[in-house]
Each structure stands twice: as C-alpha cells, then as structure tokens.
C-alpha cells in the first residue's frame, strides 16, 4: 500500500462541556465522510475488516480514521481522537491532545462557555493545538450565537467571528466544519526517515491480541516485525500487527508512518507495560529522546472496597484484576479490617473513577460491596524525618511520632449564574476554601476561583454544589500541590470499640462537627440491640461527640402458634438470617448500609 502524503492528514479531537454536543458532531463528521480512500477500496482491505468483525473486536467509537474529499478536490485522512471528558482523567486527556494537531471546540449556542469548556481549552492551548470554535445547537429557540461568539472571544480569547454556526443534531452546516478542519488544522510534519518516535495515548486489553497500543507516530515508521521498545517502562517486544481505526474495527495495514494515528499489537500481556504517555521507539534504531510530557499517573482518591459477603473475597479480586486489564490507573492491594474482614484498598483517579469502578463491580460482576470513606493521600512527616504517603487512615502513626502532615490542594473553578454566587461561596468557605477571585463572564454569569483541600470535595461536594445552584453550577479542578495542614484522625467507637473502617483523616477545625454528624447518622442506621450502645467520635483518647442507641425494648412472641413449631422455627431463622447481613464489631451488629451512610452526610 502506498503511503499517504502527510499534508493530507489531519489529526484532531473535539472538546466540549458535557452535553454541548461532542458525540453528535463526531457522528455527523463520520457520516459525511468516507471510511477508506479510493485506493484502499481497490486493495480489498474489506476482507480483513470482515475477519475483524467476526472476532467481534471493537474499539472506541470516536477514535476513528475517516476519509474526506475536500472542495479542493483532494482526499484527506481525518484521524478523530476521542478525549475522555472528565477531570478525573485529566492526564489521559492531555495525552490524547498531545496526539492531535488541532481541536474543534464545541460551544452550546444557548449555554455559552462553561467550566469544562475553559478547562479543556486551556489544556488544548497548553499543547499548542489550533482551535476551531464551533457554535452548536443554533436551531434552539434560546440560541444566541452572537453572544456566545463574543463570550468565546472575551473569556477564552480566541478568534470566533467565522465559527461555523451548526446544528449537529439536524446536520446543519457540517460541511463548513469539515472544510475548516482541512484549512485551519495544520498537517503533521513528521520525519519519516527519522528513528521511530510514537506517543502512546491509550491502550486496551483484548483477550485475543493482548494489549493494543493506540499511538500517534511522530517520526519514523513501524511495521510488522519491528522490535519496539517502550522508553519509560523498558518493555521490548516484536510488533505482530499494525493498523488504523475503522469505525468499530481495527483495520490492519502494512506500515504506520510519521504523521498518522494507528495501533500496534505485540503480544503484550500486561497493560502496565504500555503506560499512557510513554514513547514507542525502534529497539534497533532508537530515537535520542522520548517525547516530553510522560508522567506516571497516580491515584488521587483511595477507599477500601470489601465484599458484603466475606466469602466473595476471591471473586472481588478476580473482578478487580479483570478491570485493571483495561484500566491501568486502577490500583488495589489487599487489606484487612477488623470490622469488614478482608478486602482491598483501592486507588482511583478521582471520585467519578471510583464510582465507575464500583458500579461496574456491582453490575458486571454482580458483587455486593461495602465501601469505606474515600480519602486522599496525605503526606505524614515523622519526627525522625521519614515521610509516609498515607492512604489508609488506620496506618496513621502515633501522634507523638508525627512532626506535621500535608494534604493535597486543588484549584477549582466554578461557573455559576450570579444569583447563586452567595450560596456557592458559602459552601466553599465551609469546605475550607481559600478565595482566589471572581470574574464576570457576562452580566449574569461569573467564574469563581477557589483553592480547596481535595479531601473536602471528594465526599459530597458535587451534590452540595448542585443543590445550591439548582443544578446549574459547573465545576472543574486541577491539583495544585501539597500544603501543610492541621489534620487529625477521627475515630468512631461503637460500644467502646474502635471501628477501623469508619476512621478517617480530617481537618481539626471541622472534626467536632463531622464527628457529631457521624454519630447521629450511625444512631439512626444501627438497629437497637439487646443492650445499650454508646457511639462515640474521638480524636486520640479525647471523645468529641457521643450518641446512645437505647437497648431494644421488646422482641418476644407472646404466643407460639399452637403446635406449629415449624412456623416459629422459620421466624427465628429469618431473624438470624438478618443478623448475618450485619457486621459484627465486638458484641454489636452493624448493618452494611451504616458504613455507606456516613459517606453522605447531608449538611444543609
């Protein structure tokens, strides 16, 4: 197969705030273009595609190569690269962007610029991408494209006067977008003869092919048989297959050359060997330097995941291992809790990532889980000079050994209509926020900037934000770094016994209030038992809050159903069955939902 001239390749992504129409536009672009060049059609690659289809291998829908015949009469290859939309996956987004030469920015003609719009634009600008703004949903009655164009120019500072006014849903003016891709997004400028240098921007695990590396070839070329080396992980493998992305299929080809986007398989069994952001090079003819920007992604949020049924521990391990095959950022290691038995301390990129994993474990693997309070990584500086990265509150050293502690701080941007500015600022203050500033994007909308401790936003911040803005606030954040903080460990004692699964690290100023609310919540969630149960919140040996669950008053059957002993037997069995679903801590039975309930403390 002859090689495509780089000047006819366009590598780009679509960025947008959620619901502004990213996926719909992607679908329209694919629809309006062809899947193969006329040359490739003759080469009968379709046969290969059928094979792929039979194997049922699918790839991410929006990472796709398409062919566009432009008005200048030439055929262009578009590589449309999907970017995950959420801040939890910021690093992945940045690697995807690094694989592109330009970006289409979709902005809703009614809603205008939102928090994620800004965050994504800044990220794209950091990667020197050329940005084509597109105003979507112009056919909405509330559309105000002129205002949005001005907003883009004022707030983002990019030229938007000739932005296509489109309706992705109804296919209006999509041609203008396609032409602008050709005209405004630069062609790649790789050196085909240089040593191989390719950026890994994603990878998936396929049980048949092993790890499939998604990459952008910056320089050089790669083909079947090339001995490749992953520069960061050091893995060396022979290439088994290269190819590009058809819609829903992997389409093998002979060679991937500088400027293009495609995939490589090399019998790699472990996703950890193909870290996103790594550089692939030719082992026998390596490039001098890896591409810049690689970093090891580390989880930001940790929590304990335990099977509700202790016997399902092995099932949970198997499920986590399977999920990890396609999600290298998921980390887990076994841990044991006095209250919950055996489980795993798991690390996630953020709270959304945590929720996705939890939901997949429950839905796809049919596991009932008990989750402990999510926490962040604290840096504990000990008096002997050691620094511990603490992910499990139970491992906090004795206070006498601690010099000081640090916690992660994020920079947050909240965009909200002005009527809700007051409540939102109050919320941020309550969450130990440090006010950085506020800008009016227009008369009725403002960007509020705060520095917030990460551990204050991983509980129920999103919910609180939504409820204080009738759902309109949008929120984004990025990690700023670690700062010294007056942190302490809050322990919960039930019937005088410490319940390790309920311990967590908290700022000492808010500890008393939170301790009080947890005690109240637990009082509601733990059923009365045969004796009185004190519930205490304590810092060290100091009790800061207390509630009491009164002893059960009565649990007696007056009559015994005559001679129907089987009925009585069944009743008692049911009662005992109910107890089994509880966790035994000392003499106290704690329902599983009590562990979860303290994660969501309504603070309104």
């Amino acid at each position: 197969m002859s090689q495509v001239n780089q000047k006819n390749i366009r590598n780009f992504c679509i960025i947008a705030h959620i619901d502004h129409g990213k996926s719909t536009l992607a679908d329209r672009i694919i629809e309006k273009t062809g899947l193969l060049t006329s040359r490739e059609m003759q080469a009968q690659v379709l046969d290969n595609m059928d094979l792929e289809r039979e194997r049922g291998i699918t790839i991410k829908a929006q990472c796709v190569r398409i062919i566009y015949k432009a008005q200048d009469g030439e055929e262009y290859i578009f590589n449309l690269i999907d970017t995950p939309g959420h801040v939890d996956f910021n690093y992945e987004v940045s690697r995807s962007l690094a694989a592109c030469d330009g970006a289409i920015l979709v902005v809703d003609a009614a809603q205008g610029v939102e928090a994620q719009t800004l965050a994504n634009v800044y990220l794209a600008l950091e990667h020197n991408l050329d940005i084509i703004p597109v105003i979507n949903k112009i056919d909405l009655p509330s559309a105000d494209p002129q205002r949005v164009i001005e907003e883009i120019e004022d707030v983002i500072g990019i030229e938007a006067q000739d932005a296509p006014l489109i309706s992705a849903k109804n296919g209006i003016n999509i041609d203008q977008v396609l032409e602008q891709i050709v005209k405004k997004i630069p062609a790649p400028e790789g050196d085909v003869d240089a040593p191989l240098q390719a950026l890994v921007f994603d990878s998936v695990y396929d049980s048949y092919k092993g790890v499939i590396i998604f990459c952008r070839i910056k320089h050089g070329s790669v083909r079947k048989g090339t001995k490749i080396k992953m520069m960061a992980t050091g893995a060396v493998e022979d290439v088994v297959e290269v190819g590009y992305f058809g819609p829903g299929q992997f389409i093998p080809c002979d060679v991937l050359e500088a400027g293009t986007v495609g995939y490589i398989t090399a019998s790699i069994k472990n996703l950890k060997e193909t870290a996103v952001g790594d550089t692939v090079t030719d082992f026998n003819n390596p490039c001098a330097e890896p591409l810049i920007g690689y970093k090891k992604v580390n989880p930001m949020v940790y929590c304990g995941l335990y099977p509700a049924d202790g016997a399902k521990y092995q099932d949970l391990r198997d499920a986590l291992e399977k999920l990890q095959l396609n999600d290298a950022s998921l980390q887990f290691e076994p841990e044991a809790s006095v209250a919950l038995g055996f489980g795993f301390r798991c690390g996630f990129l953020g709270l959304l990532h945590l929720e996705i994993i939890q939901e997949r474990l429950e839905r796809e693997y049919d596991l009932d889980l008990v989750t402990t309070a999510p926490g962040v990584i604290y840096k504990v500086h000990k008096t002997n000079g050691d620094i511990i990265e603490l992910t499990n509150p139970s491992n906090l050293p004795d206070p006498s050994e601690i010099d000081f502690m640090e916690e992660p701080i994020v920079k947050a941007e909240i965009i909200v209509t002005t009527e809700f500015v007051g409540p939102i600022m109050k919320l941020c203050q309550d969450r130990r926020g440090v006010y950085l500033g506020m800008e009016y994007m227009e008369a009725t909308r403002a960007v509020i900037r705060y520095e917030l401790p990460l551990n204050e936003i991983i509980y129920d911040f999103f919910d609180a934000l939504k409820s204080r803005s009738r759902g309109y606030a949008s929120f984004d954040y990025e990690l700023k770094g670690y700062e010294k903080s007056a942190l302490c460990k809050l322990d919960i004692l039930i019937n005088k016994e410490e319940v390790d699964a309920l311990s967590f690290i908290i700022h000492s100023a808010t500890a008393a209030e939170r301790g009080r609310r947890m005690c109240e919540k637990l009082k509601d969630e733990i059923p009365r038992q045969m004796f009185e149960i004190p519930i205490q919140a304590a810092i060290g040996s100091k009790v800061i809050a207390r509630e009491t669950i009164k002893a059960m008053r009565k649990d007696v059957l007056a009559k015994c159903y005559g001679g129907d002993i089987s009925r009585k037997h069944k009743l008692l069995e049911k009662q005992k069955e109910g107890k089994k679903r509880m966790r035994q801590v000392g003499n106290v039975e704690i329902p599983q939902k009590a562990f979860m309930s303290v994660l969501k403390l309504d603070d309104e």
């Binding site: 045969m530 007696v556 059957l557 007056a558 015994c560």
Partner: protein, 401 residues
C-alpha cells in the same frame, strides 16, 4: 430410627412413645379481626362432612402398638360452636385407636356465649376435663374493637355454667396491648379475672398479623399518624403488671405467657415445649411424630374429598411440609422451645436426649448471654432472665445451628 413396616394405613410407621393429640375444629361463628388461624364460619353440611372425614383420618392413623395418650386438645376456630355429639364421636374414635390415659388432660376451647349447660355436660360425659375460654378482655369496648362476638357478661354466664357443670380446671385466655387499651383497663381485666379464680390464665400480647383486617386498619391509621396500639414500653409494662398481679394472687408463672395454680400447668402445651411427640387431626394441623414434623393440607375440600373418597387411605397424601428433623434441628428446638418455659432447660436432659455435652454445642453462646444478663445459669438449668424474656426472640434465634 424410622420403622418402615406399617400397620393399617399409618404413613408414619410405628409410634414409639406416648403422644398428645390435637384436634383442629376450623369453624367459628365470625372471624375475629386479629385472627390468622385457619378458621372460618361454615354451614352444617360442611361441618358434618369435615367431622366424618376427620373420623376416617383418626381411624387411618392406627399404629401396630397401642400408644398411650396423656393429653387431648380441641382447638380452633371455636370447637364449642359445633354440635357436642361430634365431640363425643371424635373422642370415641380416639379411644378406639389409642390408649387415653385415665388421668389424661382433655381440653376444649370454648368461646363465651357459645356454650350451654347441656353442651358442657355433654363434654363432661365425653371425658373432657378442662375448659379454655377465649375471654381476651373484660372491657366490652375493647372486645368489640377486635371483632369479638361476646360481652364480658356473657362470659361470666358461660364461666359459671362451666363451674356448675363440674369443671375444676378452667383456663382463661387474655390479650394485652389491644387497640385503645390502657394500663388501667388491663389492670381491671386482670383484677376481674383473678376474682374468678380460674386454675389457669394465658396472657398473650396482641400480634398484628399481616393479612388480617385489624392489621390493615391499624397500618392505614399509622400512615395517617394515628396509632391506637399501646407502644412497646406500655406493652412491656402490661406484661410486668401481669406477672406481678398474678404472682401475688397465687399463680405460678411457668411459661412466657402462661400462668397457673400449682399443679394446673397445661400439660398439653408443656409437651409442645418439651418438645414431645404429638399427632394432630384436621386441616392445617401440625404434627410431630417419630421426629418428623408435618402439617395437614389446609384446603378443607381437598381434605374431605380425599378422606371420604379414597379406597385405601394413605395419610401422606394429605400431609404437606414434611420435615424429618436432624439432630441439629432437634437441639435447636429443644433450646428455643425449652427457653419459653420460665424454668428453662435442663443440661442433663440435653445430654440424655442428644448424647453430647451441652457446653460443646452451646457453651460459648450461653456464656455470652449470661454475661449480657439475658440468660441465667444455675446448676443444671438455663433460663431467660426477666430482661431476656423481653428480647427472647433475639436470644432464641442464636440457638439455631
């Protein structure tokens, strides 16, 4: 343990021990609004057909050895609403198949207002020596609120008749925690009943059973913020008051809800809690024979049709929920039934029955409950503390293995 050789049509083989007999009469004048027992009003033809079928069932239960019968209990429903000749015929049928002990305790449940002196004398002739009256309350408004058809005055009349007919062993059933019941009205009920000096008093607390009309009404009221049922605290206070007043009046508290004058404990009920074997006749009736627990079908039509039409009666055809108890099951029952008795269970008896040491099965659990002051352990006996009685289900369920 099971002897497969059967004589006659007994599907349960050879009866090894003595057995109590329970007779279920599933008929009543009108269903009470709290009642979830198998009973309903019925016409004379149905009653007749049912009794005829039951006589066949009794006959078919014959064993190869003559089984001594220490207790017989006619329960319902309201056994006293059917013609006393039926009771006589049932007694005859039993005596033909079983050896009813000369000192046997033979009880019939009667509803106040459904008995006459003639009926009572007929019972007496049939060998019945114990009457159990379902009084429930002496307050006529309370009686009405749970759908009882009699008044306290009608009860007094029936009670006197029973005494006149020569019954010297009478039980009165009472129910505490009725809708709108107060501590004062309960105390009043207890006082009036004590004045009558029955030999035995059963004092239950109302259980709202799902599916009963009373349950539906109370639930509906509760969703509208009204609750006429005394709260748990009051119910417990009523229970303590019952203990106190009846003990003072010379009654022995021998089971969670049962009191008697010395020597008048209900032997039939004690056999349920021992637990000893017993055989029951009639629909829905539960039996415990040769370590097998089973029930008869609940459908009266099916019951009558099978027994009257079968050429050779095989009782297993009308038995459902047949469970052969394992040794573990028997230990569990021994505990949760035995603990209903105020004097609890005997550790020696446990060893005698099961051949294993009590401690090896329940030692740890017992220690825990003794520490929590829910069980009391004295020498050979283990029994519920007063606090343990309050929460007895929570204690008992942990004895399930």
């Amino acid at each position: 343990m099971m002897n497969k050789r059967t004589i006659g049509n007994s599907s349960m083989g050879v009866f090894k021990r003595q057995m109590g007999i329970y007779i279920h009469i599933p008929f009543c004048a009108k269903k009470c609004s709290y009642c979830d027992f198998l009973s309903a009003p019925a016409d004379d033809d149905t009653i007749k057909a049912y009794i005829e079928a039951m006589l066949l069932e009794i006959k078919a239960s014959r064993s190869e050895v003559v089984v001594p019968v220490p207790t017989i209990f006619f329960g319902g429903g309201t056994p006293s609403i059917i013609d006393p000749t039926y009771i006589e015929r049932i007694m005859e049928a039993i005596r033909e198949q079983y050896e009813v002990e000369s000192e046997a305790e033979i009880t019939i449940e009667c509803n106040p207002g459904t008995v006459s002196l003639k009926k009572l004398l007929a019972y007496k002739d049939a060998g019945i020596n114990r009457i159990s009256f379902g009084l429930q309350s002496t307050d006529n408004i309370e009686l009405k609120s749970i759908g009882r058809i009699h008044t306290y005055e009608q009860f007094q009349n029936s009670y006197e008749m029973a005494r006149r007919a020569g019954f010297d062993n009478i039980n009165i059933d009472l129910i505490a925690a009725l809708p709108n019941q107060t501590m004062a009205s309960w105390e009043n009920t207890l006082r009036k009943v004590i004045d009558l000096q029955p030999e035995h008093i059963s004092a239950y607390s109302l259980i709202l059973e799902e599916g009963t009309p009373l349950y539906t009404v109370i639930e509906m009221e509760r969703t509208n913020g009204i609750d006429r049922i005394p709260c748990e605290d009051n119910e417990r206070e009523m229970y303590y008051l019952t203990n106190e007043m009846l003990k003072k009046a010379g009654y022995i508290h021998y089971e969670i809800s049962n009191y008697s004058k010395p020597g008048y404990e209900c032997r039939h009920n004690l056999s349920y809690w021992a637990p000893d074997h017993y055989i029951s006749f009639g629909i829905g009736a539960a039996s415990y024979v040769n370590d097998i627990r089973y029930k008869n079908v609940e459908d009266i039509k099916e019951y009558i049709e099978y027994l009257t039409e079968a050429k050779i009666i095989d009782l297993s055809e009308i038995q459902v929920e047949v469970n052969q108890l394992t040794k573990e099951n028997k230990m569990e029952e021994f505990m949760f039934l035995g603990l209903r008795r105020i004097d609890g269970i005997s550790i020696k008896e446990f060893f005698k029955r099961f051949g294993v040491r009590y401690d090896s099965i329940y030692g740890t659990l017992t220690k825990k409950f003794v520490e929590q002051e829910l069980l009391i352990h004295t020498d050979d006996r283990i029994y519920l503390s007063p606090r343990g009685i309050d929460v007895s289900n929570s204690v008992m369920c942990e004895f399930l293995l």
